[in-house]
Amino acid sequence: MALVDAIFESVARVVASTFHCDPAIVRVDSEASDIDGWDSLSHVYLIMAVEHELKVKLPLSDVMECANVGELAALVRKVRAS
């Protein structure tokens, strides 16, 4: 659980850093519509930042399907586990 939380916290930090928002507002169910500046275009930069900070390469077909921060963190967890 601690590792799960740590991954989510890391992803949330990247989201906050990428979109210059308060990390406290980034939740598991936070979607693009909840975060100012997060849209289909800027999503590309978020993926780059997540991959860079968490040292993973995410399968593109899966990452495009992530609907919120929690799902993005789950994908990172899954890739790391494999």
């Binding site: 979109f19 210059h20 693009a32 519509s33 500046g37 849209d39 289909s40 275009l41 800027s42 999503h43 590309v44 930069y45 993926i47 780059m48 991959e51 860079h52 390469k57 593109l60 077909s61 495009m64």
Partner: protein, 442 residues
């Protein structure tokens, strides 16, 4: 009987499509073409769109994240026989890995589009250097000396960008991701991540024409060819780092100068320097606002200072010259136009040469007036004002036969229906944004 309508719904890309297809007589003879912005005010919905919905034959609806509700509402109103065509907004991030938000925008009042340096123009590396204590000049130098490829995986950025675009186009009727992927290196397809050039619009319109069912024709081929010459939408361009250009083999990117609103055109390095210093000619936009409310003398003072700060901005020079002519400051106007002609060189357009001709006429330089008008006509054969000035210039030099010929051409053009340009100049279009600025500060 009212014609069936073709509705173009979405962002400015759809406006360009509407204007372009509006040049096809075969189409406008049978359809009314309407552009409906995805973020339109509800009052516009009723006034402009309501009557066209019931007779809509084709609905080209861009699927935008911030236009979903309106699009869904429109779709429910369309007749059963309407062909609905879905497409995604086109974009390309690959050349611009530095995008970020810059809080310095919040510190400076700005009249246009909310920010002097929108996020696509901002640079996270320069900002990081500044945050660490570097002066703007040092931060810029460090940035220009960086090995970009060692800190950004450009191929991965491109891979993600294309995948994103393909994903958004899944199950859409018009797709541009393949065209973009195949041509991004050999042609300039985007001026900034969201603003396509004519190449993209030409392909988009080609697909639209196919869907409508028009047969290929010389007129359509001409239109699509003309569209490829369209510079593109938007009031600014995001510079491409030379290392990025080299990495992707962008042969067309060498020596490019990038427009920044009405500030002028800058090389990549020049832009980086201005950005690091957060330079922006606010006086010019204040001058426009003063001009709008009729305070011409004060506006002229602002423009004079703006021209000093941005001596190479042809937009400022032209605005300055126009007002100088109005205020009777002909010599200053001509000096500004001279600078602009030198600055723009071969890229000078007909409008500039008309201005030179007008100024020349005002100072009695009839030969110069005739010559400048001739240059304008060479660039835009249907320029009514250019023919008028040519006629005057020739006549005042005693060349009556030639003057009469030019006068006849002028009269004929005046008698024709207004010849709309193919595509509205996006630079003029965005000027309307700051004309909404409240002038309470003055």
């Amino acid at each position: 009987m009212l014609k069936p309508s073709i509705i173009f719904f979405g962002n400015c890309h759809m406006g360009v499509a509407r204007n372009a297809l509006g040049r096809i007589g075969e189409l406008t003879d049978h359809f009314e073409l309407i552009f409906f912005r995805h973020d339109s005010h509800p009052s516009l919905w009723n006034a402009e769109i309501e009557p066209a919905l019931d007779r809509c034959a084709f609905f080209f609806g861009q699927v935008n994240s911030d236009g979903t509700e309106l699009r869904e509402a429109v779709l429910k109103r369309l007749p059963a026989a309407c062909r609905t065509v879905a497409l995604a907004p086109s974009f390309l991030n690959s050349f611009w890995p530095f995008v970020t938000h810059d809080d310095r925008n919040n510190l400076h009042p700005t009249p246009l589009l909310g920010e002097s340096y929108p996020k696509y123009l901002c640079n996270r590396f320069i900002l990081d250097f500044i945050r660490r204590g570097d002066s703007p000049e040092l931060a810029c130098r460090r940035f220009l000396e960086m090995d970009i490829r060692s800190v950004v995986d450009l191929d991965r950025l491109h891979e993600i960008s294309i995948a994103q675009l393909r994903g958004l186009e899944r199950e859409k009727d018009i797709t541009l991701s393949g065209f973009i992927a195949d041509n991004f290196a050999s042609r300039r397809l985007f001026l900034m991540p969201l603003h396509p050039t004519g190449h993209v619009f030409s392909e988009m319109c080609r697909q639209m024409i196919n869907i409508i069912g028009l047969q290929p024709s010389a007129a359509i081929a001409q239109l699509l060819g003309d569209l490829q010459q369209f510079r593109g939408v938007g009031p600014y361009e995001v510079p491409i780092h030379p290392q990025v250009a080299e990495h992707f083999g962008l042969n067309w990117a060498g020596g490019l100068r990038y427009r920044h609103f009405h500030e002028g055109d800058f090389s990549h390095a020049e832009f980086a320097e201005r950005y690091a210093r957060f330079e922006f000619g606010y006086g010019y936009y204040q001058g426009l606002q003063l001009l709008r409310v009729g305070r011409k003398v004060e506006a002229f003072e602002r423009f004079t200072e703006a021209a000093r700060v941005n001596p190479r901005s042809r937009y400022i020079a032209r605005t300055f010259a126009n007002l100088a002519f109005e205020l009777g400051k002909v010599e200053e106007a001509m000096a500004a136009l001279d600078r602009t002609v030198i600055e723009e060189g071969e890229t000078a357009d007909a409008e500039l040469w008309v201005a030179v001709a007008q100024g020349s006429l005002a100072i009695g330089a009839h030969s110069l007036c005739e010559g400048a008008a001739g240059r304008a006509i060479a660039l835009q054969a249907d320029s009514i004002e250019a023919w008028r000035l040519r006629s005057l210039g020739l006549g005042l030099q005693g060349q009556r036969n030639e003057a009469n010929l030019a006068a006849r051409r002028y009269q004929w053009l005046r008698s024709q229906p207004t010849l709309r340009p193919l595509i509205e100049d996006s630079g003029a279009e965005f000027g309307r944004h700051w004309m909404n600025w409240d002038d309470a500060g003055f």
